[in-house]
């Protein structure tokens, strides 16, 4: 018997031996949606609060003020800024674009030598201060938002849901999905939280309070 058949047979035998318990119904009476719709002022206030608690920086921007907000976020940095191919052209003038048509061209060393990356996001969750990326053209492949030391992420107000179930429902495999809650951190030394280990050490969120038109 192959290992596969062996293991499956053992599972069936074990379930039979344990009295073939039927699967119980799963009670889903936990909060499956928030008290407020996506982008409501209460939701945005909570989102801001959670991000700040995780030592991320939040910059508010009007719909037409995204390029200026990004400029402000990058003001202190020197070195190349990298962006995914689908980011609106006017957001980061002069940025290095990571290839086109979903094929990245920058090497890990190129990414390591860059000062920052600027992306959009797929969805966000206020209760946990979480941003989700799904590899869409305005977010790029995963390495792009991992290796640079500063990540500037533009979040549209209407992308911010209140609860985790709403966040999970907004995301769809098979896209590779990355949930980001603050900059990387460790608590491995005496349970003391240290922000900034291998992922970007700085996370700056540009929160725009009206939908932007995609380029």
């Amino acid at each position: 018997m192959s290992a596969r058949e062996d293991v499956l047979a053992r599972i069936r035998e074990a379930n039979r031996g344990a009295g073939a318990p039927p699967p119980p119904d799963v009670p889903r009476d936990y909060h499956r949606s928030g008290d407020h719709p996506p982008g409501a002022p209460e939701v945005l206030a909570l989102f801001r609060d959670r991000l700040v608690d995780y030592k991320a920086t939040v910059i508010d921007a009007p719909a037409d003020g995204v390029p200026a907000a990004i400029r402000g976020a990058l003001a202190q940095l020197t070195g190349p800024v990298v962006v995914p191919p689908g980011l609106p052209d006017d957001w980061v003038p002069g940025a290095v674009v990571d290839g086109a048509d979903g094929v990245g061209t920058l090497s890990p060393a190129d990414l390591d030598a860059s000062a920052a990356v600027v992306t959009a996001c797929a969805a966000a969750c206020a209760t946990t201060g979480t941003i989700a990326l799904d590899g869409s053209p305005d977010q790029g492949r995963r390495a792009l938002t991992l290796v640079p030391d500063v990540h500037v992420c533009v979040v549209r107000a209407d992308q911010v849901v209140q609860t985790v179930p709403e966040l999970v429902a907004a995301l769809h495999p098979p896209h590779p999905i990355t949930f980001i809650s603050g900059p990387s951190a460790t608590s491995d030394i005496e349970l003391e939280r240290v922000e900034g280990v291998h992922g970007p050490r700085t996370l700056i969120v540009v929160l725009t309070d009206a939908p932007t038109t995609s380029a």
Binding site: S2, A3, D6, V7, R10, I11, R12, E13, N15, G17, A18, P21, P23, D25, V26, D29, Y30, H31, Y54, G102, V103, G104, P108, D112, C125, T127, T128, G129, T130, G135, R142, A143, L146, V147, V164, P165, V168, A169, P173, P174, H175, P176, I177, T178, F179, I180, S181, S184, A185, T186, S187, D188, I189, E190, L191, E192, G196, V197, H198, G199
Partner: protein, 489 residues
């Protein structure tokens, strides 16, 4: 069959880290004498308990989430074969390759062969309980492949030539000064002016590992969840070392225990709330990666998933004990356990320490190979209250004790140990009885003051000390200590 006794499908001996070289009481004696260890553990578990309590209190629907988590796990186990077949189909359809491993030896051979086929002689690793369980690093080393741990705590353990002592914070037994010493001694090129400030230590690890990430061709990970209906694997982490390993190399090999499958993507809405709050005491951990097979142009272009049994089906065969398979490895039960807090993880002799280890390890190996672990508890019930998927660990412990005694009885004339374990089992299954006997056993402390151990306990525990000596009980019993610390008993 109703128990796993005598089942051939337990985790094999001689490989991996599920069996200690000493019984729990013997190993615990050394740990209890180490005051530095107890200080480190006491501090760390106190910090994490406080954090967990505050973020759990934020969710008004916490109990509903726990009930949903419990039901989801129970339902998954009832159809485990179907969910695994679905997972296999979806992963394969998305360009991944699925392998099945009956046990540690199978899994180690598969992973070793897969690495050898890439021609590489080093791999980077994401912290993974399953690969520790099967002793993968040792198997790779025997084949001339160097496995570099990349989680900070795992790195501390690996550089310190040490064993992990906690599921989530494997170096919880080390304090900052000890970590600094390990780095200065073992980390090539480290700044000799390194201080013991946690930030400086973390930055030293970042610098040390960065180059390894950028050049790595093969990564090995575990998985927190495998979603059957989409074929998606998830790794939940904090530091970004997971993202590095899951993203930059060309080949990714993931070893996942078969019990980690969840039926649907939607089910993550429960577990992604339960896990981070219970483990690190955060609303959400910094990073969670979810990938499905191979994505052209993004991340590893070769993906292997190794599905591991290694005693899990033997555990599944027991209608009560199978609940140990529901564990999502959050470590909350360790952090609230008065026994773990005093002995640390090494005393359990397995990669799974604490209350969950006391019920999981003996089932994976067969109870005779970890016979003392089901007694490594005062049955106070704190583990059940903390468990995000409501595993009734005290009931599982009592059942394992009974199975151990049955096995002894079946073997021949019952030994003194078996009789005393039976007595202890009767005693410990009632809080009132146990408290009274524990108080009585404190008399032994007076008797044993000079030797640090005693050779007689009051009945019915005396049958136990007749065949082995017991460590001198602490001045307070676990229960008294618990009542003083928490204000409840």
């Amino acid at each position: 069959m109703s128990t796993n006794l005598g089942m051939p499908a337990v985790a094999p001996p001689g490989v991996g880290h599920l069996r200690g070289t000493q019984s729990f009481p013997d190993a615990a004696r050394g740990a209890l004498a180490d005051s530095q260890l107890r200080r480190n553990l006491g501090h760390a578990t106190r910090v994490i308990r406080t954090k967990r309590a505050s973020v759990v209190a934020e969710l008004p629907d916490w109990e509903q989430l726990r009930l949903a988590g419990e039901a989801l796990k129970t339902a998954t186990m009832a159809r485990l074969d179907e969910h695994l077949e679905r997972l296999e189909r979806e992963v394969t359809a998305r360009g991944g390759v699925v392998h099945w491993a009956r046990d540690a030896n199978d899994a180690n051979a598969i992973v070793t062969r897969l690495v050898q086929e890439t021609g590489e002689t080093e791999v980077v690793k994401v912290k993974s309980m399953a690969t520790q369980e099967i002793g993968l690093n040792e198997a790779l080393e025997a084949a001339g492949i160097a496995a570099h741990e990349t989680d900070l705590a795992e790195l501390i353990v690996q550089l310190g030539h040490d064993q992990p002592s906690h599921i989530l914070v494997p170096a919880i037994h080390r304090n900052r000064a000890e970590i600094r010493e390990i780095f200065l001694r073992e980390m090539p090129g480290v700044d000799p002016a390194l201080t013991s400030e946690p930030r400086r230590l973390a930055m030293a690890a970042r610098a040390f590992l960065r180059e390894r990430f950028l050049r790595a061709k093969v990564a090995i990970s575990g998985a927190n969840f495998g979603v059957a209906d989409t074929g998606t694997l998830l790794v939940v982490e904090s530091e970004g070392n997971g993202r590095m390993c899951l993203t930059l190399p060309e080949t990714l090999i993931t070893v996942m225990g078969i019990e980690k499958v969840v039926p649907t993507w939607q089910d993550l809405e429960v577990f992604l709330q339960l896990l981070p709050r219970s483990s690190t005491g955060e609303r959400m951990n910094p990073y969670t990666s979810a990938w499905t097979g191979v994505t052209p142009g993004d991340g590893p272009q070769t993906f292997h998933l190794v599905l591991l049994d290694n005693g899990r089906t033997a555990t599944l065969a027991d209608e009560v004990g199978r609940a140990a398979l529901h564990c999502i490895r959050c470590s909350a039960c360790l952090n609230v356990c008065p026994v773990y807090e005093r002995t640390g993880g090494h005393a359990y002799g397995s990669v799974y320490p604490g209350p969950i280890g006391a019920v999981l390890s003996p089932q994976l190996t067969g109870v005779e190979d970890n016979a003392s672990l089901p007694y490594a508890s005062s049955l106070c019930g704190a583990c059940f209250d903390a468990c995000p998927v409501r595993i009734d660990i005290p009931s599982l412990l009592v059942r394992l004790r009974a199975q151990h005694v049955d096995a002894q009885r079946a073997r021949s004339v019952p030994s003194a140990e078996a009789l005393s374990m039976a007595a202890a089992s009767w005693l410990m299954s009632s809080p009132g009885r146990f408290a009274a006997a524990e108080k009585a056993s404190r008399l032994g402390r007076l008797l044993g003051r000079s030797a640090g151990r005693i050779s007689t306990l009051p009945p019915p525990l005396s049958a136990w000390t007749g065949s082995r000596d017991a460590p001198r009980p602490p001045a307070e019993t676990f229960r008294e200590w618990w009542a003083r610390e928490r204000g409840t008993s």
